[in-house]
Amino acid sequence: MNCKKVKKNLTGYLEKNLTKNMEEELENHFESCPACSHLLEEFSQLWEALEHREKIQPSPYFWTRLKQRVVEYEEGRKPVWGWLGGLVDWARPAVAVAVLLICVFLGYSLGNFPQTVNGQTTSQVDERTLALQEFFDSHYLNPLNNLPTGSIEATYLEIISGE
């Protein structure tokens, strides 16, 4: 029996869970080894403290506090709100879905919302621009396409257009 083996079996020795042979071996070792004997003494004090912990007494106000809490709980559960409490379980996911749908709808609406320029909607601006373009084409561009061949104007136009 060596000191290492003694340390492994201290708890078993104190709780008398060892075989008779093992118990005798340990006792013989304690008689011949002052260090292990001293260790046994200190360890047994700690083990004794572990085994027999004092029970604590409940505070005298334990019931008072608990009763107060129960009363407040009962008062909080008034009948008029009782049905509302039942709604909470399914209302939460329903509200989440509703919020999501509203956000999708808003996003879509904002994306297709007609833009304005100087107080006019985009469609109105487009119509006006188209009218101006047509006027420009008819009064300024079309005549340029019908210049007499060989004229100074036609020649100049050829030079500047790179043809």
Binding site: L39, L46, W47, A49, R53, P58, W63, R69
Partner: protein, 195 residues
């Protein structure tokens, strides 16, 4: 039916919000519940707070109690679960608690340890120190080992009763208690080596 008539009547009356029946239940079991929580948590105030939660839960859930187990089994189960939840929450927010202690002044945890009956101050101090060490080594046990050890050693419950409370198998309970003792022995020897 597993319940005694007294237990059955108590639960039925508590389901009907009978406060005197509830008080009877609290009077009967508060010491066990508080001490179970204390042995799991190591702090008197925390133990009482958690015990309050346990009984409040019982009050709210009395009508759901089917009577398949004893009331004591049910109470121990809630007490253990609430204590373990408290420990986990404490670990998660332990830094906040430390900060609070730092700002408010350090809590005297040693004061929670039961005082010694000895007339000699040096002996009393030694006993108090031993109790602090004992609490620390229990706190260091893994949750399952701590649960099994506390219920067996301090509440005197059998392995079968612990198996019903914790829903572990009987062999698991036996193994957990054995490993808990080995762990405690190792930690106590480690402390003595450092001393």
């Amino acid at each position: 039916m597993n319940l005694s008539m007294n237990d059955k009547e108590l639960i039925e009356k508590i389901s009907a919000k009978d406060h005197s029946a509830f008080k009877a239940l609290v009077d009967r079991y508060q010491a066990s519940v508080i001490n179970t929580c204390y042995n799991m948590l190591g702090n008197r105030q925390d133990a009482e707070d958690v015990a309050q939660e346990v009984f409040f839960q019982v009050y709210k859930s009395a009508r759901k109690f089917r009577g398949e187990a004893k009331i004591s089994t049910w109470l121990y189960r809630i007490a253990v679960n609430r204590s373990l939840n408290f420990i986990r929450d404490n670990k998660r927010f332990g830094w906040l608690k430390s900060l609070s202690s730092l700002l408010e002044g350090e809590r005297q945890e040693v004061a929670d340890v039961p005082a010694s009956d000895s007339d000699r101050p040096d002996v009393a101090l030694e006993e108090k120190e031993r109790n602090v060490i004992v609490q620390k080594v229990i706190d260091s046990l893994p949750e399952k080992q701590r649960t099994a050890f506390v219920l067996h050693k301090y509440e005197g419950l059998s392995y079968q009763e612990i198996a019903e409370i914790s829903k572990y198998s009987l062999s698991s309970v036996e193994s957990l208690i054995h490993r808990a003792k080995l762990n405690l022995q190792k930690k106590l020897l480690g402390y003595l080596k450092q001393k």
